[in-house]
C-alpha cells in the first residue's frame, strides 16, 4: 500500500458511490485541463514570436466549433447532474428500518443517545451492516456532523431537526468532525465513530448496564413537566390525545393542515400558540427555556412509543 492515498477510508454503503463520481469527474476534468494545457504550450512554442510558421488566414471565429464546445459540455454536465442528483436524493431518503440515534450538538461537544437509553459523548458506537438514522438538533449555533469515511455531512441547526443516515460497511474507528464553524473550539469539536460487528455491538450495548430506554426516560419527563396532567386520556382538561400523533395529518384551528413530525411536536412544546389544533383552545403554556433539547427528543420518542389510537 502506498504511503499516500488520495481518498480517505471508505466505510459506508454510500462511500463507494460518491468515490465513483469523484474519480469519474477527476478523469474527465483531468483530461480537459491537460488538453488545454497541452494546447496552450504547443501554441505558445509553435507560434512564438520569430518562429517561421504558417500564420495565414487566422480564424477570428468559427460558429460550428463555438457551438460545439457549448453543446458537448452541456450534455456531459446534464449527465453528471442527474447522476450526482440521484445519489443525493438517495442520501436524503431514510430507510424505514434504520436504527435511530438522537444527537444534540452544543459548543463544543456531540451528545448522542441510543434508543435503549445508552448515552455517549463525542463517540458513537454503531453496528456494521445496519442502517443508522441520526435525528439531530443543536442547543446553540449551527454545527455540522461530518464523517469523511462515510462521505456524509449534515448541518445541525438550532430550532430544527435535521436527519442523516448511513450504513457502516467495515469495523473500525473513523473521524467525526464538526464541519460548520461554531466558535472558539470548533477544531476540537470532534470525536470518532466506532463501527463494530453486530455481535460486538450487542455486547457493547449490554456492557453499559441496564438503562431504561429513551422512551421510558421521555415518559418520566412527560410526567415531571406536567404534560400528562392535560394530555393523559383520563384528564379532565380538553387537550389533544397524542397517541399515534407522529406521521398523522393534523388540522389546525386557522384552517391549515400539516403532517405531525418531530419538529412539529418540538414547536408545539416551545411555541404552543403557533399551530393550535382545530377544536382546542390555546391554553397550553410555553416550555421555552425549561426543557433541554435532549429531554425534548426523549419526550418525542415517548410519544412515538404510545400505543396507537
Amino acid at each position: 500500500m502506498s504511503a499516500f492515498e488520495l481518498l480517505p477510508p471508505a466505510a459506508s454503503t454510500m462511500a463507494g458511490r460518491v468515490d465513483t463520481i469523484f474519480l469519474t469527474l477527476s478523469a474527465l476534468c483531468g483530461f480537459v485541463a491537460l488538453a488545454i494545457a497541452v494546447l496552450i504550450v504547443v501554441f505558445a512554442i509553435r507560434y512564438r514570436e520569430g518562429a517561421s510558421v504558417d500564420r495565414s488566414n487566422p480564424p477570428t471565429r468559427n460558429r460550428a466549433l463555438e457551438i460545439g464546445w457549448i453543446v458537448v459540455p452541456l450534455v456531459i454536465f446534464a449527465g453528471i447532474f442527474l447522476w450526482a442528483g440521484a445519489d443525493y436524493a438517495e442520501l436524503r431518503r431514510q430507510p424505514a428500518d434504520a436504527m435511530p440515534i438522537f444527537v444534540v450538538a452544543k459548543q463544543w461537544m456531540w451528545k448522542l443517545e441510543h434508543e435503549g437509553g445508552r448515552r455517549e459523548i463525542n463517540e458513537l458506537h454503531v453496528p456494521v451492516g445496519r442502517p443508522v438514522r441520526l435525528v439531530m438538533t443543536s442547543e446553540d449555533v449551527i454545527h455540522s456532523f461530518f464523517v469523511p469515511a462515510f462521505r456524509i455531512k449534515q448541518d445541525v441547526v438550532p430550532g430544527r431537526y435535521s436527519s442523516l443516515w448511513f450504513t457502516a460497511t467495515g469495523p473500525g474507528n473513523y473521524h467525526l468532525f464538526c464541519a460548520e464553524y461554531c466558535g472558539s473550539q470548533h477544531a476540537a469539536m470532534g470525536g470518532r465513530i466506532v463501527a463494530m460487528a453486530p455481535a460486538d455491538f450487542a455486547r457493547w450495548l449490554e456492557s453499559g448496564g441496564p438503562t431504561s430506554g429513551i422512551a421510558a426516560r421521555g415518559f418520566a419527563l412527560f410526567r415531571r413537566y406536567g404534560c400528562s396532567g392535560c394530555h393523559d386520556p383520563r384528564s379532565t382538561v380538553h387537550a389533544p390525545d397524542l397517541a399515534g400523533l407522529l406521521g398523522r395529518s393534523v388540522h389546525l384551528a386557522d384552517g391549515r393542515s400539516l403532517v405531525a413530525d418531530e419538529a412539529y411536536i418540538r414547536d408545539s412544546v416551545l411555541l404552543p400558540n403557533r399551530d393550535v389544533v382545530a377544536g382546542f383552545e390555546p391554553i397550553m403554556p410555553s416550555f421555552v427555556g425549561q426543557i433541554a433539547e435532549d429531554e425534548l427528543m426523549a419526550i418525542i420518542e415517548y410519544i412515538r412509543s404510545m400505543p396507537g389510537a
Partner: protein, 532 residues
C-alpha cells in the same frame, strides 16, 4: 516630460480633492495595496499556525480572528475594488475615448466612502477583531460571538455604498460617453466585463446591505429575525447572504477575465477569437450567477428540490466560463506570441482559472458536494478562482498598464521572475489543499489530526514562495517610478484607445477626441497595426 495628470499639482490637497479618474485610481491603488498586505499578513500567520498539527502558535480565538480578518479584508477591501475601482477607474474612460467618468465628484466620494468603511473594519481588527468568519453565519454572529461584529458589519455596509456608486458611475459612463464610432460590439472586453460587474454591484450589493442591517438589529435589539430561539430562521440569513455573496464571486472574476482578454490578443498579435461569444459569455455569467446561490447550502437543510435546481444552474454557469477558456486558447492559434510579464500572468491566469472552474463542477455535483463542502477542497477551489484567477490577472493588468499609468517601464526580467514565482508558489500553496479536502480536513480548523501534516507543511512552504512573488513587484515597481526607462505612448503596440495618447496621459486624456473606425483587437501577426 510634457504636462500630464501626474504633474498637474503636487500638493497633498491636489490629490485628496482631485476629480480626475486617473488620480482617483491611484488613490485606490494606494488603499488596496495597503489592505492587500494587511490581509496577507493574516494569511501568513494562518499558514504558520497550520505548519504543525497542534494549535501552538496562536490561541484558537486568535486563529478564528485571523481567518475572519483575512476573509473580510481580502474580499471587501481588496478583491472587489481591485480591478474595477483601481484599474477600471483609470481605464474605463480612456478605453471608450472619454474625458472622465460621468460623475467625477461621485467617483471621489466613492473612494472616501470606501476608505471610511475600510478604516472601520481595520479599527475593529485593532480593537480585538471579529471571530464570525467572513460569512457572519447566524445565530453565532447575533447571539454567541463576543467580538466586534457590529463595527465590522458597519464597515462592510459602508464599503458597499462605494461599490454601488462606482457601479452606477461605470454604467452611466459606458452608456453615454462612448467615442463616436465606438459601438457596443467594438467595446474592449475589459469594458464589457466591468460593465457586467457594475450591473451586479448595483443589483446585489443592496441585498447585502439589508442583510447586514437585519443582522445588526437582531444582535443589538434582540429582535428575532434569524435566531430560532427568538422565532427567526438561520437559513434565511444564509439565503440572503449568498444571494449577494455568490454574485460577488463574479464581481471578482469578471473584471479579471476582462484583463486577460486585453493582454492575450495583444501579446499573441491576434484578434480575440469569438469576440461576440466572449461578450455574451460575460453577460451570461452575470445573469446566471444570480441564480446559483443555493449551491452553498446543499447540506444546510434546504429542500432536496431546491438543491437539485441550484445544482443544475451551477452546471449551466460553467458553460460561459468554459467558452472563455476555449476562446483564449484559440486566440493563441496562428499568433506571434511574445512572453512579456503581462502575458505570463495572463497565461497563468487561464491555467489556474481553468483548474478552479473545473473543480467547481465537483462542488456542483450534489452527492459529491456533501462530502467536499466545508472542507479544504472548497478553500482550494475559491482560492484558485480568486487568487489564481483574479489576483493573477490583477498583477498582469498592473504590469500591462504600468507604462501608461506611471510613464515608466518596469524591469522586464524581474517582471517575468515574479510571475513565475507567483505561479509556482500559488500551486504549491493551494493544490495540496484540494487533497486535504478530499481526505476530509474541515476548513477553519486551528489544529488538525496528524495525518494531515504533510500536505499542510507543503501548503505553508508554498505560501512562503508566494509571499516572495507578491513582495517582489512592490519593490521593483516602486524602483521603476524613479529609475525605470521612460515609456513611449504605446510600448506594446496595442490597439486600445488608451494607448493612443501619451504615457502618462494628459489630465484631459486625449488632445483630440478620438474617433473609432476599426473593429476591436485589430492585431496583425506581422506586428504591424493595420493601416486605418
Amino acid at each position: 516630460m510634457a504636462d500630464n495628470y501626474l504633474t498637474d499639482g503636487y500638493t497633498l490637497a491636489s490629490w485628496l480633492t482631485t476629480r480626475d479618474h486617473k488620480r482617483i485610481a491611484l488613490l485606490y491603488f494606494a488603499a488596496i495595496t495597503t489592505f492587500f498586505f494587511v490581509g496577507g499578513a493574516a494569511a501568513t500567520l494562518i499558514r504558520l499556525e497550520l505548519a504543525t498539527a497542534q494549535g501552538d502558535l496562536v490561541s484558537d480565538d486568535t486563529y478564528n480572528r485571523l481567518f475572519t480578518a483575512h476573509g473580510v479584508i481580502m474580499v471587501w477591501l481588496f478583491l472587489i475594488p481591485s480591478i474595477p475601482s483601481a484599474l477600471g477607474n483609470f481605464l474605463m474612460p480612456m478605453m471608450i475615448g472619454a474625458r472622465d467618468l460621468a460623475f467625477p465628484r461621485l467617483n471621489l466620494a466613492s473612494w472616501y466612502i470606501y476608505v471610511a468603511g475600510g478604516v472601520m473594519i481595520i479599527t475593529a481588527l485593532f480593537l480585538g477583531g471579529v471571530d464570525t468568519g467572513w460569512t457572519f453565519y447566524t445565530p453565532f454572529s447575533t447571539l454567541f460571538s463576543n467580538s466586534h461584529v457590529v463595527l465590522t458589519l458597519l464597515g462592510v455596509f459602508v464599503v458597499g455604498f462605494s461599490s454601488i456608486l462606482t457601479g452606477l458611475n461605470f454604467i452611466v459612463t459606458v452608456h453615454t460617453m462612448r467615442a463616436p464610432g465606438l459601438t457596443w460590439f467594438r467595446l474592449p472586453l475589459f469594458v464589457w466585463a466591468n460593465y457586467a460587474t457594475s450591473l451586479i454591484l448595483v443589483l446585489a450589493t443592496p441585498v447585502l446591505a439589508m442583510t447586514l442591517v437585519l443582522l445588526a438589529i437582531e444582535r443589538i435589539f434582540q429582535v428575532g429575525i434569524f435566531n430560532p430561539a427568538l422565532g427567526g430562521d438561520p437559513l434565511l440569513f444564509q439565503h440572503l447572504f449568498w444571494f449577494y455573496s455568490h454574485p460577488a464571486v463574479y464581481i471578482m472574476i469578471l473584471p479579471a477575465m476582462g484583463v486577460a482578454s486585453e493582454i492575450i490578443p495583444c501579446f499573441a498579435r491576434r484578434p480575440v477569437f469569438g469576440y461576440r461569444f466572449m461578450a455574451y459569455a460575460i453577460l451570461g455569467i452575470a445573469i446566471i450567477g444570480f441564480l446559483v446561490w443555493g449551491h452553498h447550502m446543499f447540506v444546510s437543510g434546504q429542500s432536496v428540490y431546491a438543491s437539485l435546481v441550484f445544482s443544475l444552474l451551477s452546471f449551466l454557469v460553467a458553460i460561459p466560463s468554459a467558452i472563455k477558456v476555449f476562446n483564449w486558447t484559440a486566440t493563441l492559434y496562428k499568433g506571434s506570441i511574445r512572453f512579456s510579464a503581462p502575458m505570463l500572468y495572463a497565461l497563468g491566469f487561464v491555467g489556474l482559472f481553468t483548474i478552479g472552474g473545473l473543480t467547481g463542477l465537483y462542488l456542483a455535483s450534489l452527492a459529491l458536494d456533501v462530502h467536499l463542502t466545508d472542507t479544504y477542497f472548497v478553500v482550494a477551489h475559491f482560492h484558485y478562482i480568486m487568487v489564481g484567477g483574479s489576483v493573477m490577472a490583477y498583477f498582469g493588468g498592473v504590469h500591462f498598464w504600468w507604462p501608461k499609468i506611471s510613464g515608466r517601464m518596469y524591469p522586464e526580467i524581474w517582471g517575468k521572475v515574479a510571475a513565475v514565482i507567483v505561479f509556482v508558489g500559488f500551486n504549491l500553496t493551494f493544490f495540496p489543499q484540494y487533497l486535504l479536502g478530499v481526505q476530509g480536513m474541515p476548513r477553519r480548523y486551528h489544529a488538525y489530526p496528524d495525518e494531515f501534516t504533510v500536505l499542510n507543511v507543503l501548503s505553508s512552504a508554498g505560501a512562503s514562495i508566494l509571499a516572495v512573488g507578491y513582495l517582489l513587484p512592490l519593490a521593483y515597481l516602486a524602483w521603476s517610478i524613479f529609475r525605470g526607462e521612460r515609456a513611449t505612448s504605446n510600448p506594446w503596440r496595442a490597439t486600445g484607445l488608451e494607448w493612443q495618447t501619451a504615457s502618462p496621459p494628459p489630465t484631459e486624456n486625449f488632445e483630440h477626441p478620438p474617433e473609432v473606425t476599426r473593429e476591436p483587437y485589430d492585431y496583425r501577426p506581422e506586428g504591424e497595426i493595420a493601416p486605418p
